[in-house]
C-alpha cells in the first residue's frame, strides 16, 4: 500500500482476522452506524451528496444523487450490494469482501436507512466461494450484535440482509441484469428507463451499489463531507482502490486518492515494469475501457481526466502491457471474454461480438485477409449504442482503441500473416 496516503478503505486489511466482527468493532467499526441512527435519513443523504462520492463499479454516477432518486414514502424498497466483480483486471471487491465485510455491511445499513429500505441483498459472484462464506458469517454476526434485524441499535429501524449467490455470468454486474438474476431469472438486462430507483427488484424502487462505493459510506458519515472532499480532485472525490496487474513488478491493490497519475501508480507504487522492457500500453479501468499508450502515462486517474484522454476510469483496474506485446492478440483475448459474456439478448452485441472475435482469431492464426481491418471498424461502429446494456458498447473498446493506436500491427497481420513482433 501507499506510504504517504492514509489508508481508508484498506485500513483494516492486513490486520489478523480483519473479517471478524470483534476485530472490526475494536477498530472503531459500527460507530458510523450509531452516529447515523441519531440523524435523519435526509441529513445522511445530504452529507453523502455533499461528499461527491461517485459509484466505484465503473459508471461513476454520484451516489447521493442516486439515493435522492429513491421515492419517499413507506412503500417497499430494496438495496442491493453488487459483489458480482468480474471485469477482467479487477480484484478489489473480492479484497474488501474477504477481508473487511463489516465495513460494507455498515455502509449498506446506513444507505438503507437513508432511503427507507428494510430489505437488502448481497448479490455475489458464484465463483467467489470464500467471499460467500465470509459474507454469511459476517451477516450472522451482525444480526447477533443487533446491527441487522429488528430495531437496529434501539432506533426503531428494521433491516434484513441476506446473501444471494450468482452462478457465473459477468452480465449480472449490470444492475438490471443483477435484479433479474436476484428474482431467479436469466440474468438479462432490462431497458432503462425506468431506472431501478423507480422500478427495480419485484417492481419496487431499488438502490444498487458496488461494494467499494458502500465501503466509503461509514467513513463519510464519521468524518464528514469536507474531509472526504479533501481527498481526490474537485469532481472525483475520495480514495479509490486501483487493481494493478500485467507486466509490473508488484501487482496488487493500491488505495490512492482519485487523481493520482498512471505513472505514479505504475512506477511509484507497483514497482515499475517487471523487466527491462518499457511500458507500451495501459488499459486503465478494466477490459471495457479503451487502451491508452505509454505517452499518456501522465493521465490523472479521475473520472474526468481519463475521459479526456479518450478512455474511462471504469473500475480502476490498471492492466499494464510491456513493449513487445502483440496488441492484436490483446484485443483477441479481450474479445473472447466479451463473446463469452454477451448474454445474447440484443442482436448487435450477440452477433457483433462473435464477428469481431472470429476476425481477430483469424488474424492471429495467420489467416487474415484484405478488408478485415475495415470490417472490424465497420462492425464496431454499428454495435455502439445499439444494445440494452453497456456490454455491447464495451466490447468494441478493445478493438477500436488498439486500432487507433496500433493499426500498423493489424496491417502487418493482414500483409504478412504473423505478428509485427515476429518481423
Amino acid at each position: 500500500m501507499s506510504d504517504a496516503f492514509e489508508p481508508i478503505l484498506t485500513r483494516n486489511i492486513g490486520i489478523p482476522n480483519s473479517d471478524k466482527i470483534d476485530v472490526y468493532l475494536k477498530r472503531g467499526g459500527y460507530t458510523a452506524l450509531r452516529k447515523a441512527m441519531a440523524m435523519s435519513p435526509d441529513e445522511i443523504t445530504a452529507i453523502v451528496r455533499e461528499s461527491g462520492l461517485r459509484g466505484r463499479g465503473g459508471a461513476g454516477f454520484p451516489a447521493g444523487l442516486k439515493w435522492s432518486f429513491m421515492p419517499k414514502g413507506d412503500q417497499t424498497k430494496y438495496v442491493c450490494i453488487n459483489t458480482d466483480e468480474g471485469e477482467p483486471g479487477t480484484f478489489k471487491d473480492r479484497l474488501l469482501v474477504e477481508h473487511d465485510p463489516h465495513a460494507i455491511i455498515e455502509g449498506t445499513i446506513i444507505a438503507a436507512y437513508a432511503v427507507g429500505a428494510h430489505r437488502a441483498f448481497v448479490y455475489i459472484r458464484g465463483e467467489f466461494f470464500l467471499g460467500v462464506k465470509r459474507w454469511i458469517k459476517a451477516i450472522d454476526d451482525a444480526y447477533r450484535q443487533g446491527f441487522l434485524g429488528k430495531n437496529v441499535l434501539g432506533s426503531g429501524f428494521d433491516i434484513d440482509l441476506s446473501v444471494h449467490r450468482g452462478a457465473g455470468a459477468y452480465i449480472c454486474g449490470e444492475e438490471t441484469a443483477l435484479i433479474n438474476s436476484l428474482e431467479g431469472k436469466r440474468g438479462e438486462p432490462r431497458i432503462k428507463p425506468p431506472y431501478p430507483a423507480q422500478i427495480g427488484l419485484w417492481g419496487m424502487p431499488t438502490l444498487v451499489h458496488n461494494v467499494e462505493t458502500l465501503a466509503n459510506v461509514p467513513h463519510i458519515v464519521n468524518r464528514g463531507a469536507t474531509w472526504f472532499k479533501s481527498i481526490g480532485t474537485e469532481r472525483s472525490t475520495g480514495p479509490k482502490l486501483f487493481c494493478v496487474s500485467g507486466h509490473v513488478r508488484r501487482r496488487g491493490n493500491y488505495e490512492l486518492p482519485l487523481g493520482v497519475s498512471l505513472r505514479d501508480i505504475i512506477f511509484k507504487y507497483a514497482g515499475g515494469m517487471r523487466g527491462d522492457l518499457p511500458c507500451k500500453a495501459v488499459i486503465p479501468g478494466g477490459a471495457s475501457t479503451p487502451v491508452l499508450t505509454a505517452d499518456q502515462l501522465d493521465t490523472r486517474m479521475d473520472f474526468e481526466s481519463v475521459a479526456a484522454a479518450g478512455s474511462m476510469l471504469g473500475t480502476g483496474a490498471v492492466i499494464v502491457v510491456e513493449e513487445g506485446t502483440d496488441m492484436v492478440d490483446v484485443a483477441r483475448r479481450l474479445l473472447r471474454f466479451f463473446l463469452h459474456e454477451s448474454c445474447g439478448k440484443c442482436t448487435p452485441c450477440r452477433v457483433g461480438t462473435r464477428q469481431l472475435a472470429d476476425i481477430l482469431e483469424g488474424l492471429v492464426a495467420g489467416a487474415g485477409k484484405k478488408g478485415d481491418v475495415e470490417l472490424l471498424e465497420d462492425i464496431s461502429r454499428n454495435m455502439i449504442g445499439k444494445s440494452f446494456c453497456p456490454l455491447g458498447d464495451a466490447a468494441v473498446n478493445p478493438v477500436l482503441s488498439t486500432l487507433k493506436h496500433f493499426r500498423h500491427e493489424y496491417d502487418h497481420y493482414v500483409e504478412h500473416h504473423r505478428p509485427l513482433a515476429a518481423g
Partner: protein, 158 residues
C-alpha cells in the same frame, strides 16, 4: 460445502418471492445429483411450482450450472488477459492439455480430470490462476501445477 448450501437455503427462505429461490435450489440440486440432469431440473421445478422450461432456461444461462456430468476434478483455467500476460491462460491450458492428454472441454478416460476454460476469476493480481471444483489456485507455474495434479490424484487413493 454442503452446510453452506443449507445456510444459503435458509437465507433464501427470507426472500419474498418463490422464483428467487431458483438459483439456490439449482445449486442444491447440483450438489445432490452431481450435475443438473433432466430429473434434477424437474424436481426443482416441482418444488418451486414453476414450469420446467423456465427452470431449465435459467439453469442453462449460468456457467456454474452443469447439465452434463463432470469428472471428479474439474479444472478450470482462467483465460483472462492478466492471466495471459503473466504466462497463464492459453500457455497454462496447453501445458495441462499435454499433461492430461485431453483438450479443453473433455475428460480423462478414468473420469478423474476434466479441463475447461473460464473467464476472469478476479485473481489478476495473483495470476496465473485456475480453479479445481470449489478451490482456487493462484500464482501458478508448471512446478506448482505438477504438484497440484499429483496431490489431486493422491486424494483419490487416500
Amino acid at each position: 460445502m454442503s452446510s453452506e448450501f443449507v445456510r444459503l437455503a435458509d437465507s433464501g427462505a427470507r426472500d419474498p418471492a418463490k422464483q428467487a429461490m431458483v438459483l439456490t435450489a439449482l445449486y442444491i440440486a447440483q450438489e445432490q445429483y452431481g450435475y443438473l440432469s433432466e430429473e434434477a431440473v424437474k424436481r426443482v421445478a416441482e418444488r418451486l411450482k414453476l414450469p420446467v422450461s423456465q427452470v431449465y432456461s435459467t439453469a442453462t444461462f449460468y456457467s456454474l450450472f452443469q447439465t452434463q456430468a463432470k469428472a471428479r476434478f474439474n479444472i478450470q483455467v482462467c483465460e483472462g488477459l492478466s492471466c495471459c500476460l503473466s504466462g497463464g491462460g492459453d500457455s497454462l491450458l496447453a501445458y495441462l492439455e499435454e499433461k492430461l492428454g485431453i483438450h479443453a472441454g473433455a475428460s480423462t478416460p478414468d473420469g478423474l480430470f476434466s479441463l475447461e476454460k473460464v473467464q476472469c476469476l478476479a485473481s489478476c493480481g495473483t495470476s496465473p490462476a485456475l480453479r479445481v471444483n470449489d478451490e482456487l489456485y493462484e500464482d501458478l507455474n508448471s512446478d506448482k501445477v505438477d504438484r497440484l495434479l499429483d496431490q489431486l490424484a493422491g486424494r483419490v487413493q487416500a
